[in-house]
């Protein structure tokens, strides 16, 4: 057994290093004899987490249950339950833990039988990555497709296809390539995600931990190396604040704490927040932890929030930002994985639990079932065990929710039997509202997504796929500054420069927004705020489509820019302050507006008769009295390159 030498030499340093590692949760899936347990056993064995006494027990077991004769059978390490050891197969999800010098891992070992789809969905629900095993002798079979589909359905973005038992096909590159092509043909229908292919032999250890000597034609990383290095940080949703209230603590009359786990977004002390469904607003007074108060919390931190005002808020409710609301509706569509022998009955009342809310409701209709082998939609009147289908749900009261693709916490639910309390199914919300079933009489606020006619098909294409396609990380460059400061000139030059170097970028400015989308808006404070809000929403959509948005508006008020940042998201909002002194702007006065403002012809003109609140800590500050246009563009490009947004 090879151990990290630090353990012996400097345990303190080793522990500090270990404690700072991150965590990758993965599932392994494959058909009965594809060798999952063998692979996991091999990973555990080669990653040195098997103790001698466990190995001794294993040897004793091998004589009774082993399937590899007198050889070491790694599968016995993971086949835990007596029943399955007797049958020689894995029948339930088992969790395994190991770590390397780079990362900690939790493996959900998922069974391969057709009738155990439910276990696969269970295991996949908390994972970042799926390892799909294929027996090189059999190639892509129905269960391969089923497992891949379920992984995608549960929102797993990273797939690693391990073509196993390469030793039994003479380590043939042709066999590997054929299976890879077959899989890619099928995976095209899954809507692209990150897929890697690795030829391995779990039993012999080829390309599991160490590079195989038998397959020099394979130039990629061995499995463990890949698992250590795959990047998962960008999978987090730091944009939409969703804080489902879990528990209200009231230790004394002066303290009312809302305990919860941040599902997505970032909550900060001082934030203006909205309580759903009461729609009362307040501010975050404090964010408490056992260690004391903190300034901000992000997923998946568990904290306790207090608010400035006594508002209506309890378990099952949600704290959000006023400019970024979840949908509040009793009706929605969901993809359901049915997990019980009694079929899903349309019209029957079940209990639905989503995040911290539990509500009775029913399935109104089954729109279609998915044949997971062909991915074709089929008409079915019921869903039986291990079926997957799209259903319309109607709850007895509205709940806050988002599409699962955007938010795994507020987009997921379980379905519980009201008599025997069993968990019958699991659902992933895919659409906001069902169309044309409700009168369109409800009045809605502009910021509230309640139109029943809006259908939002959850995109199956991940942000990662778009990033790969466009070779850029989409962001919004938000230019702010006085009229005549040079925003338009800089933004246009920046757009030109980006497009010329092969990036997809687009400028949003008064010319293309005020005349169309926002032509109903004037220049009052409220209308200016709404103007900026809409622009931010458009920028967000552009970012989601993979584009770099360049916004060029005076945007004089801090609160509007903070609102825009909330909509677009912290990590996608880049604030650039075009810092040109008023005197210089007035001197330039390209459209003669300052003159008109001075004479009183234009009222409420920023800088003259209305305030401009300069950003306190912009990402970039451009002093146009010292920098020419080219230098300004260069500075922005350099910052984008520094942050790895563009090459």
């Amino acid at each position: 057994m090879k151990k990290d030498p630090l353990i012996d030499q400097d345990i303190e340093a080793y522990l500090k290093k270990h404690q700072a590692k991150d965590l990758l949760r993965l599932i392994t899936a494959g058909s009965v004899d594809d060798g999952k347990s063998t692979l996991i056993g091999r990973l555990l064995y080669d990653a040195k987490v098997i103790y001698d006494d466990q190995l001794e027990a294993l040897k004793a077991d091998s004589e009774i249950h082993g399937t590899t004769g007198t050889n070491f059978d790694p599968a016995l390490l993971t086949d835990g339950l007596i029943a399955e050891r007797e049958q020689g197969i894995t029948i339930d999800v088992a969790y395994r833990y190991f770590s390397t010098s780079k990362r900690n891992f939790i493996i959900a070992d998922c069974p391969g039988h057709q009738q155990y789809t439910r276990n696969m969905a269970t295991g996949a629900s908390n994972c970042n990555l799926a390892v799909i095993l294929i027996d090189a002798r059999n190639g892509v079979i129905e269960q391969t497709k089923r497992h891949s589909f379920i992984s995608r359905l549960l929102g797993i973005r990273h797939l690693v296809v391990c073509i196993n038992k390469m030793d039994l096909v003479d380590y043939s590159e042709d066999v590997f390539e054929q299976i890879r092509t077959d899989y890619e043909d099928f995976a095209a229908r899954l809507e692209a995600t990150e897929i890697n292919f690795i030829p391995i032999s779990a039993l012999e250890g080829d390309n599991v931990v160490d590079r195989s000597e038998h397959m020099p034609w394979y130039t990629g990383a061995p499995l463990l190396r890949h698992l250590e290095n795959v990047s998962i940080v960008s999978d987090q949703n730091l944009i939409d604040l969703r804080y489902p209230v879990q528990y209200v603590a009231r230790p004394h009359p002066d303290f009312r704490g809302f305990a919860g786990t941040v599902a997505s977004g970032i909550i900060r002390k001082g934030d203006e927040v909205l309580a759903m469904p009461s729609r009362q607003t307040s501010r975050v007074k404090s964010i408490n932890t056992f260690e004391g108060e903190i300034d901000e919390a992000f997923p998946p931190m568990a904290v306790m929030v207090t608010l400035d005002d006594e508002i209506d808020l309890s378990r099952g409710d949600m704290i959000v930002h006023p400019n970024n609301l979840p949908r509040l509706d009793p009706d929605f569509d969901a993809m359901v994985v049915w997990m019980n022998d009694n079929p899903l009955e349309v019209g029957k009342v079940y209990t639905f639990k989503s995040a911290t809310t539990t509500v009775p409701g029913r399935v109104e209709s089954i729109r279609y079932a998915i044949n997971v082998n062909t991915l074709h939609r089929e008409q079915q009147s019921e869903l039986t065990v291990n079926d997957i289908g799209r259903v319309s749900v109607k709850l007895q009261k509205p709940i806050c929710h988002d599409p699962y693709s955007k938010n795994h916490t507020t987009g997921s639910l379980i379905i519980i039997d009201r008599v025997n309390n069993l968990t019958l199914g699991a659902g992933m919300i895919i659409e906001r509202g069902t169309p044309a079933t409700k009168p369109a009489t409800e009045v809605s606020k502009a910021t509230e997504p309640t139109s029943k006619n809006i259908r939002e098909e959850a995109s199956l294409v991940g942000a990662a796929a778009r990033e790969t396609l466009l070779k850029q990380k989409p962001v919004t460059i938000w230019l702010t500054g006085l009229s005549g400061s040079g925003k338009s000139t800089i933004s246009q030059a920046l757009e030109e420069r980006l497009v010329q170097s092969g990036q997809a970028a687009y400028v949003l400015d008064g010319d293309n927004v005020r005349h169309g989308l926002n032509r109903d808006l004037g220049f009052s404070a409220a209308e200016r705020t709404e103007n900026i809000r809409r622009i931010a929403e458009v920028a967000r959509l552009m970012n989601e489509a993979g584009l770099i948005a360049i916004s060029s508006f005076i945007s004089p008020f801090t609160k509007d820019r903070v609102g825009a940042k909330e909509i677009i998201g912290d990590d996608r909002f880049i604030e650039v302050f075009v810092d040109t002194p008023l005197e210089v702007c007035e001197q330039r006065d390209p459209k003669g507006l300052y003159k008109k403002a001075r004479s009183g012809e234009i009222k409420g003109f920023t800088g003259i008769s209305a305030p401009y609140e300069a950003p306190e800590s912009p990402d970039l500050c451009l002093d146009t009295t010292r920098l020419n246009v080219e230098a300004c563009v260069h500075a922005i490009i350099a910052m984008m390159q520094d942050r790895g947004l563009i090459a």
Partner: protein
């Protein structure tokens, strides 16, 4: 990366979430407090889950009457320091019949003083949810345990009929008499527990740390004679050795290891360089392989 939580903090957050869900959804939850290192971590997590408020449920210690004296002293000090509601239960029949591991054998003793006692306590108080400090990495049958583990009216676990458990959405629905065992530390490993104790400065029973103690060697296991109920067999002598315990339970059933690790760094160092798993010191597991699953089916925690 600024918005990236280290894995230990992720585990902590996950456990706190579980503890709060239980407090919010069950009528009468209880936290099983075994005084061991896992219980100590679980207790800290419960404190964290509700701070600045107190822990809103009681802690239950099933006292088999053969716990180390140091454990009981530690338990009472913690209850006083942290001001939690401590319940102690001993099987009254077992107590009346002086059930002990020497005369009744370890299996029967454990059945009566631990398994039966726990069931009695849960029924007596009407608890519908009980937190336990078990981890999935401890033993093979535990690897498949749910976070919320359903028990029927007879406290039995049916491994073939577990409720599916997705995301962190837990099904807390039970009918009268049924209950849920909840394992907030499911995803922690032994190393995680020690790291957390170290970085959070969590108090633990001193028996975990190596010290010169008087032990006897019986059937290849080092045991401490914690009181006179354990009689020395012929040929056995007390000898001073520097020892510590990797797990703590009933003193006649808990083997010590020779060690020089007198701080947490030392423990972790020994653990990482060790070649034997932690349950090795427990006499209870000496039966045939798969024994833990059998005990769990019968209602053992």
């Amino acid at each position: 990366m600024r918005y990236n939580l280290s894995y230990l903090k992720q585990l902590e957050a996950e456990s706190i979430h579980i503890i709060r869900e239980v407090a919010a959804e069950f009528e009468r939850p209880v936290m099983l407090y075994s005084i061991g290192k896992d219980s100590s971590v679980m207790l800290r997590l419960a404190e964290k889950a509700f701070a600045p408020a107190g822990i809103p449920f009681p802690l239950l210690h099933v006292d088999t009457t053969f716990k180390f004296k140091e454990m009981l002293a530690f338990r009472d000090k913690m209850a006083a320091d942290l001001n939690f509601d401590l319940l102690v239960w001993t099987n009254p029949e077992g107590l009346a019949n002086k059930v002990n591991p020497f005369d009744f054998g370890s299996a029967k003793y454990t059945q009566i003083m631990k398994t039966e006692a726990l069931k009695q306590a849960l029924e007596h108080h009407g608890f519908d949810a009980a937190f336990g400090g078990a981890r999935r990495d401890e033993e093979r049958s535990r690897a498949k345990e749910r976070v919320y583990s359903f028990r029927d009216r007879f406290h039995q676990w049916d491994p073939k009929n577990q409720r599916p458990e997705l995301w962190n959405v837990y099904n807390a629905k039970v009918n009268k008499g049924e209950s849920i065992r909840v394992f907030p530390l499911s995803n922690w490993t032994e190393l995680d527990i020690w790291l957390y104790i170290k970085f959070e400065s969590i108090p633990i029973v001193p028996l975990y740390l190596a010290k010169e103690r008087e032990v006897i060697e019986r059937d290849g296991v080092l045991l401490m004679q914690d009181d006179e109920r354990m009689e020395l067999r012929e040929g056995e002598t007390l000898t001073k050795k520097k020892i510590r315990f990797r797990t703590l339970g009933c003193y006649p059933l808990t083997g010590a290891v020779e060690s020089s690790a007198d701080d947490i760094n030392g423990i972790v160092q020994e653990m990482l360089l060790a070649t034997k798993s932690e349950r090795e010191g427990r006499v209870i597991d000496y039966d045939e392989s798969g024994s833990m699953e059998k005990k769990k089916r019968e209602g053992y925690f």
